[in-house]
């Protein structure tokens, strides 16, 4: 098979798969079956296109092929059901509407949105949600998903098979949740997308390139979602957060792959296009908000605060500390409190941060979290309490799993006390 055609088919698949599967799912009311039908159409394309060439409208070709198979399948099932009925049994579930086959792609956006909600359904465990979302909506192969998440391919394949079975068994309806349920279900969708993004963001230099690529996959999903659910401020908030975080990609690691902290990043390497897109998404979110902003909008606002500062010294820490305080109320977490402590110390001096940190030591989650003693050591050193600072650095060094960080912390523990600049 000519490689060119094969790659063209892959590209067509990437573009068409989500819409194709979503449209089929509306017909057959089963995401798993829809995915299989779409796969069948892909196989047909792989057989025919290398010989006949890629059709002018490859999306329509795939849709027609898959729909034809869907109709066959529905007819078979209906014949089967009739026979069952003739045998005198009751048929509880309604059969899919064959008339819908005649209607063209009206409301494909609605179908995509339904597909998103089904793929991220809470009946599924989180790894299944991410795998299914990337497969159905990102157009990724199981192999690509496996490489990106550093797990064997059969594991991902099995996760997807099980997920499809679970959805069918639980009779998860192919629909967008309404009313009070919508908020909870939407937050499950956003969580999955942000999880995919963070998996990519956590990738390091030696990793397979599929891993950092997850950031782009998540961003694309987020942008799609913002078009599908344009009235939801949190969707725009998540997009803003991801765009702004992605803008720092070039600056956040050094030539050897070592992480570079926000304070030391070369801001000239931040991607201004992504920052502009992020700030625009944040504005859209803020325009839609009625009442209190949600956690993604607040995190995006914090990221925007950094993005707007041309130099680290220009950062508006008072504002950022206030946003963290707000975030701690909306989405309380010890890690948010830790960040708030850092922001407070930057805004009002080390004592302010230390006062909050001392309350945090009570959280069991933070007991083994190396950043707590590391930040505490930092603030103590600024206050000239060097003996205590050293003890904290040693503790942090023992807790971190990152070799480079450990070396750095031990060096700080061993260093002679130096006057802290700015805090005499």
């Amino acid at each position: 098979m000519p490689t060119d055609t094969h790659r063209a088919i892959e590209a067509v698949w990437r573009i068409e798969a989500p819409r194709l599967i979503a449209g089929l799912a509306r017909l057959v009311r089963d995401v798993g079956v829809a995915e299989e039908l779409a796969q069948d159409a892909l196989v047909a394309a792989l057989e025919q296109w290398p010989a006949e060439g890629v059709p002018d409208n490859p999306g329509a070709w795939l849709t027609t092929t898959a729909r034809r198979r869907a109709i066959d399948r529905i007819r078979r099932e209906q014949t089967f059901r009739r026979k069952v009925e003739e045998a005198g049994r009751e048929l509880e579930e309604s059969s899919p509407d064959i008339g819908a086959l005649v209607a063209e792609d009206d409301g494909i956006g609605d179908d995509l949105l339904r597909l998103v909600f089904v793929a991220c359904h809470p009946v599924l465990p989180t790894p299944a949600r991410t795998a299914l979302t990337l497969r159905l909506l990102g157009g990724l192969t199981t192999d690509e998903i496996a490489r990106a998440f550093l797990v064997p391919e059969p594991t991902v394949a099995q996760r997807i098979v099980r997920a499809k079975r679970t959805l069918a068994q639980a009779r998860v309806p192919f629909e967008v949740p309404r009313g009070a349920e919508l908020t909870a279900r939407l937050s499950s969708v956003l969580e999955v997308v942000y999880l995919i993004f963070n998996e990519g963001y956590a990738a390091t230099a030696g990793d397979d390139w599929m891993r950092p690529e997850l950031c782009a996959d998540a961003l694309r999903l987020g942008r799609v979602l913002a078009r599908l659910a344009p009235r939801e401020p949190e969707v725009h908030g998540l997009v803003a957060l991801m765009e702004i975080q992605a803008s720092r990609t070039a600056a956040r690691t050094g030539p050897g792959g070592e992480p570079i902290l926000l304070a030391e990043q070369n801001r000239a390497r931040w991607d201004q296009l992504l920052i502009r897109r992020g700030l625009a998404a944040l504005r859209r979110a803020e325009d839609l908000i009625e009442g209190d902003p949600g956690p993604y909008v607040l995190q995006a606002a914090i990221a925007a605060g950094h993005a707007r500062a041309r130099r680290f010294a220009d950062t508006d820490w008072v504002r950022i500390a206030r946003l963290y305080e707000h975030l701690a109320r909306v989405a309380p977490s010890p890690v948010v409190e830790l960040n708030r402590a850092v922001a407070l110390s930057m805004a009002y001096g080390p004592e302010a941060g230390l006062a909050l940190l001392d309350q945090l030591t009570a959280f069991p989650v933070l007991r083994d979290y190396h950043l707590l003693p590391s930040v505490r050591g930092d603030l103590l050193a600024q206050l000239g309490r060097h003996a205590e600072a050293r003890a904290e650095f040693v503790r942090a060094a023992a807790l971190t799993r990152n070799e480079r960080e450990r070396t750095l912390l031990l060096a700080r523990a061993a260093a002679p006390p130096e006057p802290a600049p700015g805090h005499p």
């Binding site: 990437r14 490859p58 690529e213 782009a216 999903l221 942008r223 070039a250 030539p255 050897g256």
Partner: protein, 142 residues
């Protein structure tokens, strides 16, 4: 991967003729598809070259020449900045570009990959950074 898709000038675009209402709608629908798919990062159309200028650097000499420029087909008339998985995906999207030249005259879109951080990564040594600075200096005519 980020790509810039460059559209070329035509006699009509160089004459400053605005697109027909029909073309405007067709291209609008295409752009909407790119946005809906989360692929489009930015796009702009350019005014005729009569509204622009060129700066020539030759040795120590700098010359500014106002537009218009004659080699219409080589002129840039606009660009799309997109993020796709591969060159093939970008090609697949823009094979669907809906605007054709009047009378079916030949035209082309040029697709170019944009340099990004990962293109340098670990290989981007201090020497290469110097090389880039040297290149930039060459471009500036020093």
């Amino acid at each position: 991967m980020r790509f810039m898709v460059i559209t070329k000038a035509t006699a009509a675009s160089e004459a400053g003729e605005p697109p027909t209402t029909e073309d405007f709608e067709t291209i609008g629908a295409f752009i909407q598809e790119l946005v809906d798919a989360g692929v489009l990062l930015a796009a702009d159309g350019l005014q005729p070259s009569a509204e622009g200028a060129r700066i020539y650097f030759d040795g120590g000499k700098t010359t500014v020449v106002d537009g218009p420029f004659t080699e219409t087909k080589e002129l840039i008339a606009g660009y799309y900045l997109v993020e796709t998985k591969s060159l093939e995906e970008c090609v697949e999207w823009f094979r669907r570009y809906p605007i054709r030249q009047a009378g079916g005259a030949p035209a082309n879109l040029e697709i170019r990959r944009v340099f990004q951080a990962e293109d340098f990564g670990e290989e981007f040594t201090a020497e290469q950074r110097d090389a880039v600075q040297r290149r930039e200096a060459t471009v500036a005519g020093n």
